[in-house]
């Protein structure tokens, strides 16, 4: 609320986008609530009512944001580097896609290397093996000692084979 005169500046794009997202969310929740059977019982408030109130709240906040976007005008923000952000998102996506097929260590090693690259360690020939070794050590500690169930792949199978044949 900087007290600017309305109409002299362009609306703030980010706040407008937030308003749109909130409106969409409100509609999604409202339509989902509409298909629920109304079983209010004694309370008169069933499973669909609280979602409706939250949807109304979201719609109200959406409106508030839209007004705010026009009132406060465009605000300056520090520009962001897209490259590193995409590397991390890509690393997470790769881990997600590969986890069940190649196992925890290799998939997580790739995430490790992608993150290291985002922060400036560009040599993937170094970071991928380091990452896989690190993830394998983490795997052995958590799956072996702390009995966490982590997806195993060929590499984990090999290591367990060297120890005893079967995990655990």
């Amino acid at each position: 609320m900087s007290g600017s005169t309305p109409g002299t500046r362009r609306p703030d794009g980010a706040t407008l986008v937030v308003a749109v997202i909130l409106a969409v969310l409100a509609v999604v929740i409202w339509t989902d609530a509409a298909r629920l059977p109304q079983a209010g019982g004694y309370a008169g408030v069933g499973p669909a009512d609280v979602p409706r109130w939250i949807a109304v709240g979201l719609a109200g906040l959406s409106l508030w944001s839209a007004i705010e976007a026009f009132r406060s005008g465009k605000s300056e923000r520090e520009p962001q580097n897209a490259g590193p952000v995409l590397w991390i998102v890509g690393g997470l996506a790769a881990q997600l896609a590969l986890l069940t097929t190649v196992g925890f260590s290799i998939a997580t090693g790739l995430l490790f290397a992608a993150t290291a690259r985002a922060f400036g360690k560009r040599n993937l020939l170094l970071t991928v093996p380091v990452g896989i070794a690190f993830a394998l050590a983490v795997y052995l500690i958590f799956a072996g000692l702390l009995k966490l169930s982590l997806p195993a792949g060929p590499l984990e199978g090999l290591v367990w084979g060297l120890f005893r044949g079967t995990p655990g």
């Binding site: 609320m1 007290g3 706040t15 937030v18 999604v28 929740i29 989902d32 629920l36 079983a39 019982g41 004694y42 309370a43 008169g44 408030v45 069933g46 499973p47 609280v50 979602p51 939250i54 709240g57 979201l58 906040l61 944001s65 923000r77 520090e78 520009p79 962001q80 580097n81 897209a82 590193p84 952000v85 590397w87 991390i88 998102v89 690393g91 997470l92 881990q95 997600l96 986890l99 925890f104 997580t108 995430l111 490790f112 290397a113 993150t115 290291a116 690259r117 985002a118 922060f119 360690k121 970071t127 990452g131 690190f134 993830a135 983490v138 958590f142 009995k147 966490l148 982590l150 997806p151």
Partner: protein
Amino acid sequence: MNTFDFLLQGLSVALDPMILLYALIGVTLGTAVGVLPGIGPALTVALLLPVTYGLDPAGSLIMFAGIYYGGMYGGSTTSILLNTPGESASIVTALEGNKMARAGRGGPALATAAIGSFIAGLAATVLLAFVAPTVVKLALVFGPRDYFALMVLAFVTVSSAFGESARKGLISLFIGLALALVGIDQLTGQARLAYGVPQLLDGIEVTTLAVAMFAVGEALFVAGQRNAVDDEVIAVKGSVWMTARDWARSWKPWLRGTIIGFPIGAMPAGGADIATFLSYATEKKMSKHPEEFGNGAIEGVAGPEAANNASAAGTLVPLLTLGLPTTATAAIMLAGFQQFGLQPGPLLFATNPQLVWGLIASLLIANFMLLVLNLPLIGLWVRLLTIPRPWLYAGILVFATLGTIGANPSPVELSMLLIFGVMGYGMRLYGYPIAPVVVGLILGPMAEQQLRRALSISQGDLTTLVGSPVSATLLALSAIALIVPLILRARGKGAVLNQLASDED
């Protein structure tokens, strides 16, 4: 039995060698992770939750409480030596502590922070032990409408009372409440917003959301910054011991910090940040050397650090006695209880006194362990600060995904981690607070349940919500906490509220 008997009984649980070992592992891990730059207590407990999956409830919760306290100690080291507070509650510590470190007085700054944390932690934990039974008695007369009103108050204080803008805080809260709707309705068994995906029927895991928003979101945000320069770690020169003058100037701030911190933590009134800020302001006002403030006044480290830890213990009062988390960290701790099917609240004191009192007694012991870990061994933790960023964040993301995979190795869960991580990045970028999302997610279903129970009792009469003195008072307080800051901001007095912003806990 009175509190003393219960506490002695708890000590007999906590002094079991295995339990002592769990507590030691917890405080060590908590300190180690808490010291890492950019990691606050909320993320520390979320990242380390999987470590406790394999243990029995008592061992796991005690280790977990150790992690919580350890994370609080570790955060102060980071802010003194690095000037990038790992947690919002340490921002004030960084103000004076970093100046002291630059002037070559890093040792005494760390010492006054550690001893202050110790004294405050000890006093506040004892206070917790004495206050808890009274609150439990009070809680037994609370009906559903009173609980609902209490939760509404927590919603308002966490989201909109402090911080940059009420609109942004409320948006974060409602996103959390919307996410909380996903899954099976607890009262009627109806599936809401699940769209036939079996993993969604269980609802959205608090830990997945917290790790995604705090760890993944933070990593993306730091990676995206253009002019990122590594902050310089200031070496600790000279003795870590305090001089007689340092002691003389520290002991009063420690006590005042404790007195300020504990009630603020115990009330549903936002996190430790407010306590540290108030303590700093008090010390500045009462100091005989006000000119030193801003240039490394030891009181400005001693008071806020004590307030910080006292309020961390205070947060456990509503969490243990009412099952009400008032910070993001407490929300994750509640998730830690729930993984064993334990619901903190008055009933837990009756059905599982061994566990509750063992936990409280362990906290006392954890404080002694932390004092030893943080004074003589400080050099070890300082070395952790020098881990280069690429390895640090790569490691953080490995552990972030490890927790999610370990809890539920499904692509759906990992996709949620990715989506919420990107969402956390966006929210951080545009200044939307994250804590209200986490608190909304865990408190949303509880508030809905209490509301519907209250309305069942009154057969749908809405006036029942203000029908008891307790609920009417709490709802009135909520309304004040919502409206007064709006007026203050509209009159351009929002700067103070802004400084009290609660980023993380």
